[in-house]
């Protein structure tokens, strides 16, 4: 049997993708309209990393998963009500901004510092997982910098196999996780991101086209063909 792992998953939160996302100018730079009021979810890529981590930990006895997350504490708490019921982990929360307009390098520094202060961390057993959406607007830059700061120079980016089903809801897991999640949120370290040197020339939403069609009795093959045709157009 292989050695036990210490798996750190860095996961940010993002606004629920079904919400209307409207960039606005705020005194501190660009922001999303009503961002604090909008429901948030775990960055789906990071969520996947978390499930992969949990799966690996389950199959490698003695392993443990930490979830390190930087975001407004009240919003992190709401997100935990869903995520904490999925897989066992210990939360390390940093209370700070999670908008899509933070500087990836600063976020990476905060995350790396939080990871380094985990008591009993053994770098020989360490695996660092993460997503790619939240702090870098989909550029995937944050995790690389977290790795560098932790002295992990041989990195594999984008190795997710993506074939793990989303774990089932399990309230018992949720109740167990909550014993550490709530205290972690309470003592979440306030984290300021200065945003130095960061300017945004312009901000727009990615262009997207939504075409909805309700079909009830078509086979998956036919649907796939139709989508291919549509993309080719």
């Amino acid at each position: 049997m292989s050695t036990a792992y210490q798996i750190i998953v860095c996961a940010g939160i993002v606004p629920d993708p079904l919400q209307t996302l409207e960039p606005v100018a705020s005194p501190t730079g660009p922001a999303l309209k009503n961002e604090m009021m909008l429901p948030a979810v775990l960055d789906p890529w990071a969520g996947h990393a978390l499930y992969e981590a949990a799966n690996l930990a389950k199959n490698t006895p003695g392993s443990k998963v930490w979830l390190v997350s930087l975001g407004p504490k009240a919003k992190l708490q709401q997100v935990m009500m869903t995520v904490a019921q999925r897989v066992p982990f210990e939360l390390i929360a940093l209370d700070g901004p999670a908008s899509g307009f933070t500087e990836a390098a600063e976020v990476a520094a905060a995350l790396a510092e939080a990871i380094q202060t985990i008591p009993g961390l053994d770098k020989s057993k360490l695996l660092v997982f993460g997503g790619w959406e939240s702090a870098s607007r989909g550029a995937g830059a944050t995790m690389q910098m977290v790795g560098e700061r932790l002295g992990i120079v041989d990195q594999f980016q984008g190795v997710d196999q993506g074939n793990l089903p989303e774990p089932k809801n399990n309230p018992q897991v949720g109740m167990t996780n909550m014993r550490t999640v709530m205290p972690a949120l309470q003592k979440a370290k306030p984290t300021k991101l200065a945003g130095e040197g960061l300017t945004f020339a312009s901000v727009t939403l990615p262009k997207q086209m939504r075409e909805t069609k309700i079909v009830k009795d078509k086979s998956a093959d036919d649907i796939a063909k139709e989508i291919v045709e549509w993309i080719k157009k």
């Binding site: 604090m36 909008l38 009240a74 009500m81 809801n169």
Partner: protein, 732 residues
């Protein structure tokens, strides 16, 4: 010099209220186990349940394999275990009324049939949970825990069988046709019972393997009635019967089963004693049913509330996008607002939303109240058992506790004695539970129809976003099962007259007046006046008689008692909505996530409160007036009344002697014009002798609602501005 006031930045609703807002209003911000449960239930509702509805899963009466997969989802998500004590595999400690209310709310947001299906197992187990022996609880409640991987056990899925084929038990649950006899009773051993029960409309019966059935003794050796536990596999007939051809709640299973089984006497729910060779069940069927329904009816009420609130966003999305084709260009009102340009559409949606809020507030308050009441009731039972108080002695002890509660409430002092505290809360729960079941579902069904009509033709199709058509029809079942409206009105007509309740109600009037001085925009002032009018009318009819001298407040006079019960519900719902809005305003500030939008949300809810309070005041005014005046006979043109009339000619002659008499006589009395026997109307105008305070109060109430339409206009405007999602989070 006159200075212009700094214009205040307009606060308005920024986003639709999210979980943070609801957790504060419905008071579970500090209960993360409930927040998790809500998320778990939501994922099931907006995932597999919604997909099944969208795929046409409701278009069959049978319990299909697709519907059956939902049971696994309920098990996996924690919905099944939410009902269970931690000792039996549950994960929520303590009373679970609020927990189950939240589950019902989330499931019904998408499909109330799913809510019913998931909750019916609890209903089946509830007799055992409430009154069962420890052994029965361990076996049946413990057996309902979802089977864990590797465990070899058949999970218990229960059904509750009270209702019987026509012409037997329905609304009136007293006279049962289901029978229990002694089949065999060997000396010194456990008696064997013969149970004969037919059920009608029994939920979960397509798959249940345990049934709690209400039966009456058909044997001199068994006293009264009881509930018995039946198991699939008991010797005899276990016939699930045919599925009911329901037009509603098709994601739950309903059948008309037939049972003819032999079961040991240990299956009597709550156990029994033997006295002089006669089995005496510890609980009659009605005692158990009363304990069960009091709690489960609240959850049903909340199903309809969830549907009303769930209708808001689909309607807004439909209205805003209605005219995006053709000539309309982005940026024009026609393109951006669509039907929301029309005031009526906005006003009706305001009414739907306000009803959804008020009924949710009422329902969750009732659920929370039972959470407080449950341990007090257990404590009461423990004290009674310790003092060996039963029957009359117990009633006497309770009456003493009620007196104590009454004195303390009148003295504005806290109630510490658990028996007195039980009496106080019991008097409220006895009103809030039927009020929530009655008003949330009955009036809720009417408002669901409004919601459907705002979707135009789409509203009555299966493709309607948010499944509004199905939700409307479903609401009629919510108003019917677990005791239809008549049963709730019947119960209210008794509980709402209790002195203990009315004493608290009087304090609520003062509370509304106090609130209105601090927050005039809530409409609490009008509500307080409406509460006064209701109370005056109730007290009046309790001693008044009709034109023929017959008593007005009598159990056979449902024309008096029932409308007054309805009127009370309007008041209770509007009041609780105001209280919840105040809670949001005071506690919301503690949540940084709400900082940006709190003021706007509170302002909007305050306007909705005003709208709802005015509507409640209108209903109460209408009902009170019909009852206050409607049972007196209108004066007719008889000799006496004609004699009292002035004649126009007479007045003209007198005018010379007493200037002004013509005008004042016309103002205070009836005047017959020249050539007429009497004025053209039903009779002389009514003198409201004895009803003067009522007339004054009614007139005052009308003026109290001043401003309510301004509030409605503001709320309507908010609807045109609030941010919505791009799409619903469940399919249609």
């Amino acid at each position: 010099m006159v200075t212009l006031a700094e214009p205040k930045p307009a606060v308005s609703l920024q986003t639709l209220p999210g979980d943070d807002v609801r957790q504060i209003m419905w008071r579970f911000a500090d209960r993360y186990e409930l927040q998790m449960l809500m998320q778990g239930a939501r994922a099931v509702a907006r995932g597999p349940v919604a997909r099944l509805v969208a795929a046409g899963g409701r278009n069959s009466h049978d319990w299909t394999p697709e519907k059956n997969t939902l049971l696994q989802h309920y098990d996996d998500s924690g919905i099944t275990a939410a009902f269970l004590e931690p000792e039996y595999g549950g994960f929520i400690a303590g009373p679970k009324n609020l927990a189950l209310a939240l589950v019902a709310f989330e499931l019904a947001w998408v499909d109330a049939g799913a809510a019913t299906g998931s909750l019916a197992s609890n209903l089946g187990l509830a007799p055992i949970h409430e009154r069962g022996t420890p052994e029965q609880r361990a076996k049946y409640v413990g057996g309902a825990v979802p089977v864990k991987p590797g465990e070899d056990r058949k999970q218990i899925r229960a059904a509750f069988a009270l209702t019987e084929p026509i012409p037997f038990v329905g609304v009136e649950t007293g006279m049962l046709a289901g029978r229990v006899r002694i089949a065999e009773w060997k000396d010194g051993s456990e008696p064997l019972l013969h149970v004969d029960k037919r059920g009608r409309f029994i939920t979960n019966m397509g798959f249940a393997n345990v049934v709690t059935a209400a039966v009456e003794s058909d044997d001199a050796k068994i006293k009264g009635s009881c509930m018995v536990i039946l198991e699939e596999g008991d010797p005899g007939i276990w016939d699930r019967g045919t599925p009911t051809k329901k037009l509603v709640h098709q994601l739950s299973s309903t059948n008309d089963p037939v049972f003819n089984l032999k079961v040991p006497a240990s299956r009597i729910v709550g156990g029994y004693t033997v006295k002089d060779g006669v089995i005496i069940p510890n609980y009659s069927h009605s005692e158990i049913i009363e304990a069960v329904f009091r709690r489960t009816r609240v959850t049903v009420g909340l199903m309809t509330s969830a549907k009303l609130l769930s209708a808001v966003e689909p309607i807004m999305l439909y209205h805003r996008r209605r005219f995006r084709g053709g000539q309309g260009a982005p940026g024009t009102p026609r393109y951006e607002l669509g039907i929301q340009q029309k005031e009526d559409a906005l006003h009706r949606l305001v009414d739907i939303w306000a009803t959804g809020e008020a009924s949710s507030s009422l329902g969750f308050e009732a659920a929370r109240m039972f959470d407080v009441l449950d341990p007090l009731e257990q404590e009461k039972d423990r004290i009674f058992a310790e003092k060996k108080l039963t029957g009359r002695a117990a009633t006497k002890e309770l009456a003493k506790a009620q007196d104590e509660a009454l004195k303390l409430i009148n003295a504005h002092q806290p109630i510490e004695n658990p028996l007195a505290r039980f009496a106080q809360l019991d008097s409220l729960a006895g009103v809030l539970c039927p009020a929530c079941k009655l008003w949330n579902t009955g009036h809720g069904a009417n408002m669901m129809r409004e919601a459907v009509s705002l979707m135009g033709g789409y509203g009555v199709t299966e493709d309607c976003p948010g499944f509004l058509g199905q939700k409307w029809m479903d609401a009629q079942l919510e108003a019917t099962y677990e005791g239809p409206e008549a049963v709730q009105r019947l119960q209210l007509s008794i509980t709402m007259t209790s002195e203990l309740f009315l004493t608290q109600f009087k304090q609520w009037i003062a509370e509304m007046k106090r609130i209105s001085s601090e927050r005039p925009g809530t409409g609490a002032c009008a509500l307080g006046t409406a509460m006064k009018l209701w109370l005056w009318t109730l007290q009046h009819v309790q001693t008044a008689t009709d034109a023929d001298g017959a008593k007005l407040y009598h159990k056979s006079r449902q024309g008096v008692t029932f409308p007054l019960a309805d009127a009370l519900c309007w008041l209770l719902a509007a009041r609780q909505f105001i209280l919840d809005t105040i809670e949001l305003e005071t506690k919301g500030a503690e949540n940084p996530a709400l900082a940006d939008g709190l003021a706007g949300t509170v302002a909007f809810f305050t306007d909705l409160c005003h709208v709802q309070a005015a509507r409640a005041a209108g209903e109460v005014g209408r009902i009170a007036t019909e009852i206050g005046h409607g049972y007196n006979r209108h004066p007719a043109w008889d000799d006496a009344s004609c004699h009292a009339c002035y004649c126009a000619e007479e007045l003209t002659n007198l005018e010379g002697v007493i200037p002004g008499i013509d005008g004042s006589a016309r103002a205070y009395s009836d005047v017959t014009e020249n050539g007429e026997a009497h004025a053209r109307k039903a009779g002389p105008c009514v003198k409201c002798t004895g009803l003067e305070p009522f007339v004054a109060l009614r007139a005052k109430l009308d003026t109290c609602i001043t401003g309510c339409r301004l509030a409605k206009d503001r709320a309507a405007e908010s609807l045109t501005k609030v941010m919505t999602r791009e799409a619903l989070d469940y399919p249609a």
